[in-house]
Symmetry: C3
Subunit: 339 residues, 3 copies
């Protein structure tokens, strides 16, 4: 289900063809055509999906996918509407099939020498394109937006009005709202960091999602925002991101958040509205941070944090608790029993 | 008081006009013309300033500004020489007025397609400009300096002799001394991270200062140095900065310092001469670190550090104390009372 | 012994000439010609080497160098085959002599305006060079490789088949295997962070090594990999590096490792095969991490870590021990004696 603005789908392929390319055991009819891949919860009958572990059993039971990559022990959970493709490692098999559909899935489509601005780009009124900027095919640049010197706007990227893309920044596989500011050298929309274990080592899982930067988002210099793996990476309205921040794939950030410099968000994180993350805060995979939470500089968030609280330390915990521990340790080292 | 090499002032404006654009209550004559904005301590009679909180009462009492944005409860502290503009939130009001004077305050002035080197650039002897470099109007490149491939030198930037600007680096709103080295992808002079709280969310405070890199400064690859908000960000003579370091607005770094990779300095920090900051050290806002201090890798500096000491941990404290705490905790976990 | 693909050697120089440029005391014949510099262990009779401290006494005793920079107290350890050049500070003296041989040792050789692709570049079949890319002299781009928009490939760089160099990335002084992916804005091959103490402050030690990225290496967006000082910085086959990672000079990383975002490796580190470093992990100089070790996010590695273990905390220690300490501290702060 990759966005055709950014990725070319080389399908469809018959299920039998997919099974044979994987050496998979086919449990069902092989002549159905598969048009695309999709996650279990969002798949349609023309899609192939995969079930990595028993953790996703419910999604599997309810999927509308036409074919599913599963382990032997999960095949009885595949609904009747789907063909089961039994493989040893569904994630690795998915990585290979995603590459079959999207062999050029690096998403880095820019024009080759000859065009600085591709003739198919839609350029609205009063835009400025500075020297050395490159604007690829199928892009749309909203009114009064400015593309900085040496900035590169990849194929299909669309941005609204009054955006500023800083010098030397790169924007790929992304939709930007109005008044979005991307500072110098920021990297928007490159591959997320996703690998399956293959027989010969780490195998890249094609990253087929997008980056969505809503209205009034600001992205700092040399910050990196990876595009989603299958879904999108989203930064909500009015959120401000400082320099040298890392935002991993599939992360959703709410509105009016503040992310201070050198924050690192790994993948599939959910952050509410009005959250403040201090400098160098790190957040682990799949964590949720509630709206209005404030996380002190240098904290390491390893578990969900409820909305509205103030947190600090590593692992991040309520700030009062963290401060008590810092004080207790200082007393301990001084040989005192109590304050 | 923005440097006209980098910013275009759209003033002057009459005080009454400013008051009306803000919906501010005017305490005094409205017909005086205001030519610019400036901090309380540096303002002249033709300037508008602002007093954010009572903390700046002394600066307010002594200011020579012609007009000052203040809260109701502070208006009696405004000197007779100034007109008080009473507003709910002086910082937010300042952000709006700074934008009135400097509507294009992003400072990212580079030539649009047509000029790789602007005809007004002053190019001294024996310089090298590599392919794809962009040099904007009003710049000055000193003798024997080299501008790397794809590097971008913004409007008005001046550098001395024997500088090397690495490939793909961007330099805006900055003065560089002699023998300055800026490595590949470093970002010099973009906006600092400064916002006021407005009714609709975070409002950008125009960043009207500069970056000063003195003689023999070296800036690592992909390091980011934000320009000052109203004053300058300064890096002293002979200071060496590693890769992926963040330096926030208004920070002053002394001479012959060493900042190891991934150091993060937030804003308005003062660092003496000969200071060494180990890898990943973070320093909070408005902190002062004395000359000759050494801060161990990964420390988090939250308070002023006296000159000449060795510090570590988070919060950063004398290294001996920090090491005692680490040892005490290890003993505690092992169930031992004493070493 | 700098690779002539990347650096121009301005030698040879007679030993007497070298001694006089340093004001060194010459212990032996001064008429021998020195063709290059090299580390003690790898030097040949035509090379000048240096011995920084008594720690390297064994290397000194065995060196085949024709001349060695030493302190007074070390001169009796110089083998008979070598001329001793007695100086106050051998490292500083080396920095000066390395600059004599390699005056343009910044390694940033890219063509000046006029060539986007240098006519001496060897371009294999089916490569793509996107708009604004710059390819310097003496480079070799393997079949089906793609050079992204605005990417810069420095003098002498060679890469194998099916490589992808992302938009705006820079690659200098490097050899890349097959199927190497370098994401947007990554910086490969700039100077390491190496200085000697001179009378006027920090003096740059010319960085004359290279970067070797073996087959199937992936380098994240805005990651920085410094080239070696005298030896090379090496990333082994199939190793995957996330965004905003720093890799210092002379570091050797094994095969199939995973380095998560914002990891920082200082210099001369040795990492085995299959090592996983979590987000924001930092590793100190000269540390060795054994194959298969896993280091939890945010750990700070200050000592060698044996192969196969799981480690965490700062200083990094076995994860079980680290977790016990975290729990003990929490109990202490709550005033409990035991769990």
């Amino acid at each position: 289900m990759a966005d055709p603005r950014f990725f070319d789908n080389h399908g469809p392929f018959a299920i039998a063809q997919i099974a044979s390319s994987l050496g998979a055991t086919l449990e069902g009819a092989g002549n159905r055509m598969i048009a695309d891949t999709a996650p279990l919860a969002r798949a349609a009958p023309a899609h192939l999906s995969f079930c990595e572990t028993a953790k996703f059993k419910n999604d599997l039971a309810r999927t509308q996918a036409g074919a599913v990559l599963v382990r032997e022990e999960m095949k009885d959970f595949v609904p009747a509407s789907a063909v089961a493709l039994v493989v040893r490692d569904p994630l690795y098999a998915y990585a290979r099939i995603a590459r079959l559909f999207y062999p050029q899935a690096d998403g880095l489509h820019a024009p080759t020498a000859g065009f600085a601005v591709h003739p198919t780009a839609v350029l609205h009124d009063d835009i400025a394109i500075e020297h050395g900027a490159v604007i690829a095919e199928g892009t749309e640049i909203g009114p009064r937006s400015r593309i900085g010197a040496g900035a590169i706007i990849g194929r299909g990227v669309a941005m609204g009005a009054d955006c500023v893309i800083g010098p030397g920044a790169t924007v790929f596989c992304a939709y930007l709202g109005d008044r979005v500011i991307v500072h110098a050298g920021a990297r928007i929309g490159q591959d997320g960091f996703g690998y399956a274990r293959g027989p010969g080592g780490h195998v890249k899982i094609p990253q087929l999602g997008r980056v969505i930067l809503q209205d009034d988002v600001e992205v700092g210099a040399n910050t990196t925002i990876d595009r989603g793996a299958a879904a999108d990476t989203v930064v909500g309205e009015g959120t401000k991101i400082d320099n040298l921040v890392q935002i991993g794939h599939n992360t959703h950030i709410g509105r009016a958040c503040i992310l201070v410099s050198q924050v690192g968000l790994s993948g599939s994180i959910t952050i509410g509205d009005g959250v403040v993350l201090g400098g160098k805060v790190g957040v682990a995979d799949h964590v949720t941070i509630g709206s209005g939470a404030m996380v002190a500089a240098r904290a390491g968030v390893t578990r969900d944090l409820p909305a509205g609280g103030v947190y600090g330390g590593f692992p991040a915990r309520p700030a009062a608790e963290w401060r008590r521990e810092v004080a207790a340790l200082a007393r301990l080292a001084k040989g005192k029993r109590k304050p």
